[in-house]
């Protein structure tokens, strides 16, 4: 028996992209297509899940993974890195049995637990205690296993006092801690972790890293760790798998993989940055609620799955709000809309930054909140106020921070 725990052979996964319909230029053609649309919709929906892998030249097929082969030894902490759209999420979904590969196969020895999103399946109405049991069994534990680990889980999460409070009254940090605590106490042979460290405060992050190292070193379990945070990957992983556009770019020692990744990211910047443009528009819904709409103009069919960020900073560049949506595909002329509650904010200058990570575009905008909480919009390009502001912003600060994407 060989000592690998995961062995992938020619793994490939295809998705279908929803392509746009041809536009009609006559009334007759429009009517005809309207009549025909149910049949057409039926074919389109049916095709989404049905593939002929031998015909990969179909124009709307998209290969998220192509011919991947690798193996992972027992006790290894393998980092999986790569840009957005490189295929990390798809690979994890196949490893965790959420979806099947289109071609190829993967052999896994032992139980796999995947933590693709912290607190999956939390029900906000249920208490912390009830959610530990629900979440634990969702992740594949039995009731007995959860009962045995219950005290440890509660202790690790640090929410003892609120264990019988509905989770909807928890702060977001508490929810994350509880979710991670449940997952960290699974006892799988293989643990898959996707970017959970992006959340939680520094102390908790340290605790999580320590826990993961313990799982691998002391208990001999295998950990697959996906992150964009190169410092976490660097401290945690002994080996890395670098993905690029659905293929394996390299497998090797972590420092080298990180170096290659950094090169990839900066090297390809010029061609990638031009693929899309983004426009940020701030609207007022109520005096205490703003809506930020990010419009996308996609010049080429760049339909990579990306991460969308929105951050709100105060005048001292201190981050007040962080909104993140993963794996979104944005089409031409679409927009993402985020509601922000600003009722608790003092009057003053704020900046809002949006970033769409697939093509690394970012943009920030100043917002002025007057003393009566009436938000005032200031357009970035023209410096024009749109509504009674109290003072003009002296200078627009682009608050782009360096975060790894």
């Amino acid at each position: 028996m060989s000592d690998y725990v995961i062995q992938a052979n020619g793994l490939s996964k295809a998705y279908r992209l929803g392509l746009k319909d041809a536009k009609n230029d006559t009334l007759g053609a429009t009517l005809a297509s309207w009549v025909k649309s149910p049949a057409k919709n039926y074919n389109r929906l049916r095709k989404l899940s049905r593939f002929d892998p031998t015909k990969d030249d179909e124009e709307d097929m998209f290969w998220a993974l192509r011919d991947m082969s690798f193996s992972v030894a027992q006790g290894e902490i393998l980092g999986i890195i790569g840009r957005n759209g490189a295929g990390k999420s798809t690979l994890l979904k196949i490893l965790s049995k959420i979806t099947d590969p289109t071609l190829g196969e993967i052999r896994i020895k032992g139980r796999v637990a995947a933590l693709l999103e912290v607190g999956t399946g939390f029900n906000l109405e249920l208490t912390g205690r009830e959610n530990i049991f629900l979440n634990g069994t969702i992740l594949g534990m039995t009731r007995k296993e959860v009962t045995k680990k219950f005290d440890e889980i509660v202790d690790f999460s640090g929410v003892e006092k609120f264990i019988d409070t509905p989770v909807k009254r928890y702060s977001s940090g508490m929810k994350v801690r509880l979710g991670f605590a449940v997952a960290a106490h699974l006892e799988p042979e293989i643990l898959i972790i996707d970017e959970v460290l992006a959340v939680g405060d520094a102390e908790f992050q340290k605790k999580c890293l320590g826990k993961m190292q313990g799982i691998s070193a002391v208990e001999g379990r295998t950990v697959l760790f996906v992150s964009h945070d190169m410092s976490a990957v660097g401290t945690l992983c002994n080996k890395c798998l670098l993905l690029e556009r659905g293929r394996i770019d390299m497998v090797g020692e972590t420092p080298m993989a990180i170096q290659k990744y950094t090169q990839n990211v900066s090297g390809s910047s010029i061609e990638d940055y031009h693929e899309s443009t983004i426009r940020l528009q701030i609207e007022e819904v109520t005096p205490t609620q703003l809506v930020a709409k990010a419009f996308f103009k996609i010049l080429e069919n760049n339909l990579l799955d990306g991460v969308f960020h929105l951050r709100l900073y105060d005048g001292a560049n201190f981050e007040l709000m962080f909104y993140k949506e993963k794996d979104i595909r944005i089409y031409d002329n679409e927009y993402v809309e985020i509601k922000m509650d600003v009722s608790s904010f003092k009057a003053g200058y704020y900046s809002i930054q949006v970033k769409y990570a697939a093509s690394t575009i970012d943009l920030s905008k100043r917002v002025v909140l007057a003393s009566d909480f009436t938000p005032v919009m200031v357009d970035r390009d023209t410096f024009k106020y749109e509504k009674g502001s109290i003072a003009p912003p002296v200078q627009l600060i682009n608050t782009t921070r360096n975060f790894q994407y």
Binding site: S49, T102, R107, G121, T137
Partner: protein
């Protein structure tokens, strides 16, 4: 002994993994518990809502069909006649709705973590039994009020409940697997449900079918499993009526077909649920 799993593309139906289902039976338990705990949270009336629907329907039906249209109820007081039908019917329609839309509702769950997907449409089948139990208790009070003493036929009740559950499970498998691919199903369910109620012997007795279409027509009608379930409930609980075993038998045939084919269709399509949800 560490077990090896092979993940690859499957054509057709995967064999049932009993070991896995056994491992996840606790998950089913907690999902059912969650549904029951959460459903009436932050309401004033709480579980009383479980009986509002059948009782209001009974009052309306008694007035419209019993008093105005004077539909025969085989000599049974119309309120009792309709409530006997409404208890299983309410379970059936609520569960069909919940089970049919269950995959759409929990798409954020099964695209994030693996567990046997079949548990998702199965959950409401069990959790709605709580509502069923409450309305059944009210039905018992009704029987006492009308001084109707059930005969020994009441022993067939568990069997009728199994028929009811198997039917709705089969329909739930079919509808949930179809709805995740074609959202049309979600809209269709809301308008088909009342049609299905008028097709079932809720407001009229199945003896009317027998009179009008003869015995063969009556047997054919029995292929609608809820006909056997509803008339069976009346037969089991009301002394005036025997259980129509011919209807129940016909219903059992189609219930088994629905269940087996639904299970198969679900298992055949579940591999791409996460890709299209």
């Amino acid at each position: 002994m560490v077990q090896e799993t092979v993940i690859k593309s499957y054509k057709g139906v995967k064999p049932i993994n009993w070991k896995e289902l056994k491992q996840y039976k606790d998950l089913l338990y907690f999902m059912v518990l969650r549904d029951i705990t959460v459903i009436y949270k932050q309401t004033i009336m709480g579980f009383a809502w479980a009986i509002v629907n059948p009782i209001v329907s009974m009052v309306i039906f008694t007035f419209v069909f019993g008093k105005l249209a004077r539909i025969t109820s085989d000599g049974i007081p119309y309120p009792l006649f309709s409530f006997c039908a409404l208890v299983p019917w309410t379970y059936f329609s609520n569960t069909m709705n919940a089970s049919g839309t269950s995959l759409i509702q929990s798409s954020n769950l099964f695209t994030k973590v693996y567990f046997p997907r079949i548990l998702i449409p199965l959950t409401p089948i069990f959790s709605k039994l709580a509502d069923f139990g409450i309305s059944f208790a009210i039905l018992i009070l009704f029987l006492i009020g009308y001084k109707a003493t059930p005969t020994v036929e009441i022993l067939a009740l568990p069997l009728l409940m199994v028929l009811m559950i198997v039917t709705v499970a089969g329909i739930g498998f079919w509808l949930s697997a179809l709805a995740i691919q074609y959202r049309d199903v979600k809209f269709a369910i809301t308008f088909v449900t009342p049609l299905m109620m008028y097709a079932a012997p809720v407001v009229f007795p199945s003896s009317m079918i027998l009179e009008k279409y003869g015995y063969h027509g009556y047997l054919l009608y029995g292929l609608y499993p809820m006909a056997g379930v509803i008339e069976g409930f009346r037969g089991a609980l009301l002394p005036q009526k025997p259980i129509p075993w011919d209807l129940v038998g016909m219903g059992s045939i189609s219930a088994v077909v629905l269940f087996a084919s639904g299970w198969r269709y679900f298992r055949r399509t579940e591999r791409f649920f996460a890709d299209i949800a």
